[in-house]
Subunit: 350 residues, 2 copies
């Protein structure tokens, strides 16, 4: 039975449009024959904001909700532009979408592919996934300042953590572990953040009883960064809060060959709202429009999108095509489009 | 004129007493001839708490305040002991001291010494110092929970940041930069934590005007972890908040040869209260009492202590003795005491 999948494309700013172009080519090349991916492009991002004064309206969100999934390139303009300071685009668009579409799972796999150079001298096998919370923690925007700009200014940030939010995330992480090497590591800072840490630790302890096959351990976030550079092979599934997950996944991207290869999914597992897939990297305005960006992270985000929508075969094909391309890379620089070409060619050769 | 320095020793738990023993030997061996270091030992730590039910009383703090400086080994008992859960010792002792003695500068130098192996394939020159805030941020213990243990639990953590606290720290960081390569990097997450981030960014921008020779840049904390493994040579002075500093300095320790070599100072620059020097590593109860711990971080903490108290020559001598010892290390394991012996011998040979 032919199927139609409706996809929203949010190329965004900087290198975003270039990498999304290649990702969409791979999407169509790898899609199952009986399925049509209909794409609708939206202009949201810093450029759009500077031109129109609008970042993302409630109507925009209503429209995006009608799609089956979202593919995002990257957002963010010139970091020195005062009109964009304070993360106005990141918060007004990226975080707003994560919250409005209840993307409580921020899924970030880290794999050191054969042939990829790691900055680590002896990386060993790296193959883990960070299950980062996406809708709570210090990201909720719950803070405030008084006496701003005076010597008596006080600025607070509140991290909000709920049993509902932690429970559903931890459950997802255990289910993920069951499909992998059955090892789960909670990362937090329970010795300092005792209220939030207590909730996270108790939730993991309780749900662990339902997943007797999964071995569970705990690391303070500071210690976790040490293991990421001394023994990344120890990790299988890492479950952690929004901010710690942000930090750990950039480091994870770095040790596995750079965030040019790191894909991510902002997922609502129940499918109440469309999930959103995006490279972990930013918009890199300094190299935008020069065909210098590596579209691999965006292409791997397509593999995650396929996987989430139930196209496991297509996901595996994209993954295999990227793995083959990456293994054959030389130090010769390639344009964004020619990397796309090469991966499409790998698909055709399968 | 002969001088007497009164030092409080807090060996603590696990490997703490072993490494402090060696550090004190080095202290006496390197002290200027006209200065006597009088040491008083205090038993505080997990073992003391389990034996007496007391962690650190107000009287204890009053007593500690009478000393010129404090040398701490490591605190913390068996992590699986439920009587010690939730970081009760870390918060009741280590953090309590940092707050009660207004240790607003948590100073953590990172140097890759010649001969030390880094987990990075191409570490290059690593020589930077993290100036971490020590008395504010998410460490203030300002949080709470409701409906604990129910499906409706909510746990909050509040990060408190004040103009007073950020200003004095940033000023110290700029002064530190002036004595070094004159480069300062603010690390925060201003695009998400906009209230706190705004205060930090504005404070750095304002104080930068007084230090025209210092070049200033900014990194989000996630990006900072990437640079720590791809280009640590870019850092000179990093100024950052309490939690980000905690995370970055463990990673910094790891890339520069392990936290077995990382020293730190909990400093009250004005000298209103004694400053406290300690290795960054923990109490490692699993190897305690076996002479397996490396006392180098504790010995380098003595160098920092000397430096802070105005004994620059003694500090340089300890630093040189450690550098010489480290350069001559082989893969042959050495006992804690024999590393102390070797460093004392290096001092004698200078
Ligand atoms: C752009 C920023 C708000 C975002 C985050 O902190 O989540 C990014 O760093 C990421 O990891 O997706
Ligand atoms: C033990 C813990 C409370 C402490 C901290 O988080 O500050 C430690 O990790 C450190 O860095 O000194």
């Amino acid at each position: 039975m032919p199927r139609i999948v409706s996809l929203a494309l949010l190329p965004g700013d900087g290198i975003g449009p270039e990498v999304v172009t290649e990702a969409v080519r791979v999407l169509h090349a790898a899609a199952p024959a009986d399925t049509t991916f209909e794409t609708t492009e939206y202009p949201f991002g810093a450029t759009h904001y500077l031109a129109t004064g609008s970042i993302l309206t409630d109507e925009d969100i209503t429209t995006l909700r009608t799609h089956d999934a979202i593919l995002l390139g990257a957002v963010g303009g010139d970091p020195r532009d005062p009109r964009l300071s304070g993360g106005i685009i990141e918060r007004g668009m990226l975080l707003k979408l994560r919250f409005a579409l209840d993307h409580y799972v921020n899924l970030r796999p880290t794999v050191l592919l054969p042939g990829v150079a790691s900055p680590l001298a002896a990386p060993g096998e790296i193959d883990f996934v960070v299950v980062r919370e996406g809708t709570e923690g210090p990201y909720v925007g719950n803070g405030g300042s008084i006496r701003v700009g005076t010597p008596h200014e006080i600025a607070n940030e509140v991290s909000i953590n709920t049993a509902h939010g932690v429970d559903r995330l931890v459950r997802f992480a255990f289910e993920t572990a069951m499909k992998r090497r059955k090892k789960l590591t909670l990362v937090h800072k329970t010795n300092v953040l005792t209220y939030a840490g207590g909730l996270w630790q108790r939730t993991v302890d309780r749900i662990a009883l339902e997943f007797g096959e999964v071995s569970v351990d705990y690391l303070h976030v500071d210690a976790a960064t040490i293991f990421l550079v001394t023994n990344p092979g120890r990790f299988d599934v890492v479950v952690t809060d929004n901010l710690f997950g942000d930090i750990l996944t950039d480091l994870a991207g770095a040790i596995s060959g750079g965030i040019g290869l790191a894909a991510s999914g902002n997922i609502n597992p129940e499918g109440a709202f469309p999930s959103m897939f995006e490279p972990v990297h930013g918009s890199a305005p300094d190299i935008a429009g020069q065909q210098k960006a590596d579209p691999t992270a965006a292409i791997l985000s397509v593999a995650m999108l396929f996987d989430f929508l139930g196209f496991g075969d297509a996901a595996a094909r994209v993954q295999a095509a990227v793995t083959a391309d990456v293994a054959s890379r030389t130090s010769e620089p390639r344009s964004t489009a020619s990397i796309g070409d090469a991966i499409v060619a790998q698909l055709a050769a399968q």
